[in-house]
Subunit: 329 residues, 2 copies
């Protein structure tokens, strides 16, 4: 295992220390490192909290800040954070408007966030994301997995929260965005969890895992490496077949790297996916290309399509100031 | 070779097509794809142009936009662009203030940019960056290599150009920033140039290349993998031994990933480096952590320290709107 770390026991704590040092203008570390929270809370605003296993950075800590999350709870690598982390985060960011948990659909996360919601004294609502069309159930999930589309939910709900929307409206908005967002991924290599010390899975020199999960969970099938166009064709076919956007629809297209993918390749994949959308008369009105929802150093990418109808484009464009997404401020 | 491409002949063109599609609000592609230029040129402003071999994305195309570069010339992977690309870019962005070339110190780049400067009809000046302290000469360079510090030069000179500084002043500023910026890198794995089809170099399972160049050029020595703290100690020792900042100095610290390094590890390295600076009484007043000057999918990172004296912090903070760096707008 080749990693720039001091030890598998200290990697998370040292990484968080580096993160809050580098972004001290935006975030601060909560008690005992249970959560990271936005530095300047806005009184009366609904507090948005997400979290999950670490190793997907910048998700979620990189999305804490104005116009997005108020707090993120980092678990150990690929391991759910605990209910006491979520509860502590809720207590820290609750300023009168209640708290909304945004939770990727994995059993551990869903269970722990549910326990934290039960333990909370204030008003708490939850949005579960499950945008991955690759498989219907998986290693750690009953139902579809929550993957890169989660950032779209966090961004759009975060914008609406900043504008003063209430808890029920934000929950409905989050469910609406999740409901019109679909993703699928492909892996060219495995990642290595530090504490495990060896790759999560193995792929032959000419193989890829089509439909992989963001923890290296199995996808639809293991196949021979194909061209970018053929890979995009399969992934977009699954996404669009499920989302069923009408011709003329306006969408956000996200080409997301898993951590070990050069930007050059992500733009090739974005280009292939965008041409497929164009061929169906679907308009790519917003784009995001980069490694935002990662799987440590896994090579590969996911594509996400999110319908931007009604007020959603305006919410996407509203000012955001986090370490990983920033515009308008 | 595992890459998300359609072919080694088309990868650059398709990647550029994706890039200008995703960032059409910021950049446009020049004639025959010779360069990318900023969409809204500012009349009378000095035109800032950089370029070099592709494979280091987001450098340089990702730094085209308000407050940074006016154009970037992409060569084939790890291959200098040609003088006609640079000349075409200069003609496209020259609006009366002259043109400044910002060139990383590699023989091909330096020679081609010099030829382009000679062929130009307008006023042209050049800044050569050579911030890499690892080695004094290298595979493709006489004298030190220009690496991640180049982005600091591009950002600060870009801010001053936007404020209306003249060509001579910008050249002097660029030379000053380069003169007080130092970098060093380490590789844990090689990268694979698409056209070559195999790794540029090989490293044993427990080895790293200390002082590696951004094309995989040899560094100071090949050694056993060490802890993040020990790696940071060696790199910062070389950087600070050469830069010789006084206690109390204010610096920018950049922890830069080479393309295959998880964010978690970059923050661990940033944390180690920052503690070393603190131990010497040097203040990290600005920070940047991410994969900005890459070597395709190479695992590893570089550290860069840049003295921020006088007006430099203000210039760093001035509005910038490029695809890879954005704040204040």
């Amino acid at each position: 295992m080749k990693k720039l770390i001091n030890g598998t026991e200290t990697v998370l704590g040292e990484s968080l220390a580096g993160f809050v040092g580098a972004h001290a203008d935006i975030v601060t570390l909560g008690d005992e490192g249970k959560f990271l929270r936005r530095r300047n809370l806005k009184r009366g605003k609904v507090g948005l909290i997400s979290g999950g296993g670490s190793g997907h950075e910048p998700l979620h800590a990189g999305f804490v800040g104005l116009g997005m999350l108020d707090a993120a709870c980092p678990g150990q690598v690929f391991t759910s954070p605990t209910p006491d982390q979520m509860l502590a985060a809720a207590e820290a960011v609750e300023t009168g408007g209640g708290v909304l948990y945004i939770v990727k659909n994995y059993e551990g996360d869903v269970m722990n966030f549910a326990m934290a919601a039960e333990m909370a004294s204030g008003k708490v609502a939850t949005v579960i994301t499950d945008d991955d069309v690759a498989v219907e159930t998986s290693t750690y999930s009953t139902g579809r997995r929550g993957v890169a589309g989660t950032l779209v939910v966090e961004r759009i709900v975060g914008a609406a929260a900043e504008k003063g929307a209430g808890l029920d409206a934000l929950q409905a908005l989050g469910q609406r965005v999740n409901g019109q967002t679909r993703s699928m991924g492909v892996a060219l290599t495995s990642c290595t969890v530090p504490a495990a010390g060896k790759p999560t899975f193995t792929l032959g020199e000419d193989e890829m895992e089509m439909g992989v999960g963001i923890h290296g969970e199995p996808g639809r099938r293991r196949v021979k490496l194909a061209t970018a166009d053929a890979i995009a064709e399969e992934m977009m076919g699954a996404i669009l077949g499920d989302l069923k956007p009408k011709a003329g629809s306006e969408v956000l297209l996200l080409a997301n790297g898993f951590g070990g993918t050069p930007a050059m390749e992500l733009y090739v994949m974005y280009n292939s996916a965008r041409r497929i959308l164009e061929g169906k008369g679907i308009k790519t009105v917003r784009s995001l290309v980069g490694s935002y929802v990662t799987s440590l150093e896994m090579a590969g990418c996911s594509l996400t399509v999110s319908l931007l109808d009604g007020d959603l484009t305006g919410l996407w464009d509203a000012p955001v100031h986090t370490s990983a997404l920033r515009w308008g401020v």
